[in-house]
């Protein structure tokens, strides 16, 4: 792959919590256009932190980050490119902060400088494409958990991101909503990294699964072993990564 198609490049990234616990430990990571990657790993291995470091929400202690071919280190660098990556938060309540669904979905496009009319059009299109037509005037805090998750996805997609970072998108969803989300993600042709503990889901919406362990991303040979482990009937339930 050529360098220009590298969307995200992390080099020697270290991140530790204030209590000294290292979460990202000399992490190397390259994410290319059209990659669809699943990311698994035990709790506390730094998957969410990785996403936050990529988005510039947390500053790594050491290491360099390159987004879309440009090195980013300060908030103003991140502010310029952040909208090109869509991060779906673990908790939809964090993401939906406007009173109504329409206001929430238009929030991103309006921040990008689109007119109200244009933003509303994009929002309605996005909602319709997710099967949420007619939700515009609904009050966000009154939505069900599944609806909240889908609307959160709409708020992210309305910004037309070039890459998606989905942080445990199936947590707390019933089978029906999970199936809908899976369907939507299968149709969407956007590069993505998906954190999940659900191997079945990952196998449907991504093309390869990486493992996160000891603050590093384990790729290549390990992945094949991993996929093999999960090839048996109870793959979705057994998650031993060691």
């Amino acid at each position: 792959m050529t360098e220009s198609k590298t969307l995200i490049h992390l080099e020697n990234v270290f991140f530790a919590y204030p209590d000294g616990r290292a979460v990202l430990n000399n992490l190397q990571f390259d994410f290319y256009k059209n990659d669809k990657i699943g990311l698994m790993g035990a709790n506390g291995t730094g998957k969410t932190t990785l996403f936050h470091v990529i988005m510039g929400l947390r500053k790594p202690d050491k290491g360099s980050i390159t987004l879309f071919g440009k090195p980013v280190s300060k908030e103003k660098h991140f502010a310029k490119v952040r909208h090109r990556i869509g991060l779906l938060f673990q908790d939809a309540d964090d993401q939906l902060f406007c009173p109504t669904v329409l206001e929430d979905v238009t929030f991103g496009p309006l921040n990008l400088g689109l007119s109200k009319k244009e933003a509303t059009r994009i929002a309605k299109e996005t909602l319709t494409s997710l099967g949420l037509a007619g939700y515009e005037e609904r009050i966000t805090h009154k939505l069900s958990g599944g609806e909240k998750r889908m609307v959160s996805l709409a708020t992210v997609l309305a910004m037309k991101p070039e890459a998606l970072l989905l942080d445990e998108p199936t947590t707390g969803l019933d089978d029906q909503t999970k199936a809908r989300l899976t369907e939507v993600l299968q149709v969407l042709d956007i590069s993505r990294i998906v954190i999940s503990h659900d191997f079945d889901f990952l196998s449907k919406v991504t093309e390869g699964v990486y493992l996160m362990e000891d603050g590093k991303i384990i790729t290549d040979a390990d992945i094949h072993v991993h996929q093999h482990v999960h090839a048996h009937a109870h793959g979705a339930h057994r998650h031993e990564h060691k």
Partner: protein, 251 residues
């Protein structure tokens, strides 16, 4: 559960423009608050009651709200007549009851109920989000409007978290009592709630940054003009002027 019992409805007041209702409610509340004479106060209570009837408010919910406020007012009735000074009206046992205090308590009661009724009828009858948009349209500072809207949005989440904590305490056998253990538990609860609120605020801010937030807020609402709004505004303006004339016009 926190709710908005009056927000939905099809009454004549629900149909009026939110901006007009807010302006009138503020002016009306102001004039009632500064009025002193009993005829004016009694008349305004009647006008407020008429508004409440027009808004077709849920009677039970309305009484509940009024009761809450009037419990506080009850304390005025206990304290003021005994400490009001001036002429003594009568004695309760050895305690003198002052006329001034009784009048003052009566005024407070009339005013509070009149204002409360009018605010419930005019403002509580719109969804909070609409009120926020109307304030924005009335050129209230963006920051204040969004502070209100975001507080409104997250008060429900905080309530949920509060309930989770309470339930967690209860299922482990916690019973509130008059002892140190209760105080300590309640303090932990309040502390946890605060920590969670701060964490939540951080995450919401992060989510806003991720969606390109640069410190500027946008408001989508546009309000349709209608004749009804002007009829209502003119009518209420006349009433407010009449109240003012009655109060200060030496009629």
């Amino acid at each position: 559960m926190i709710n908005e019992p009056f927000a939905a409805g099809t009454s004549i007041i629900h149909k009026l423009g939110p901006r007009y209702r807010i302006v009138i409610a503020v002016l009306y509340a102001f004039i009632v608050a500064v009025s002193y004479q009993f005829p004016v106060l009694i008349l305004s209570l009647c006008i407020s009651a008429i508004m409440a009837v027009c808004a077709q408010l849920n009677f039970r919910a309305l009484v509940q709200r009024l009761l809450l406020v009037n419990v506080f007012i009850l304390f005025f009735w206990i304290v003021l007549p005994l400490t009001g000074g001036g002429d003594i009206q009568f004695y309760v046992g050895p305690l003198p009851v002052y006329k001034n205090g009784i009048l003052m308590s009566a005024r407070i009661t009339l005013k509070s109920n009149a204002i409360l009724l009018s605010l419930i009828s005019l403002i509580a009858t719109m969804p909070f989000s609409v009120a926020g948009q109307a304030l924005h349209a009335l050129k209230v500072s963006d920051k204040i409007v969004h502070l209100l809207l975001i507080s409104y949005r997250y008060i429900f989440v905080l309530e949920q978290e509060y309930r989770r904590l309470i339930t967690a305490a209860r299922i482990r056998g916690f019973k509130a009592g008059n002892n140190i253990h209760t105080l300590k538990t309640v303090a932990y609860l309040a502390g946890m709630l605060l920590v969670r609120a701060v964490r939540r605020a951080e995450r919401v801010h992060q989510a806003m940054l991720c969606r390109g937030f640069k410190g500027k807020y946008y408001c989508l609402a546009s309000f349709k003009p209608s004749y009804g709004n002007w009829i209502f505004t003119t009518f209420m303006a006349i009433i407010i002027i009449c109240l003012a004339v009655m109060e200060w016009g030496n009629i």
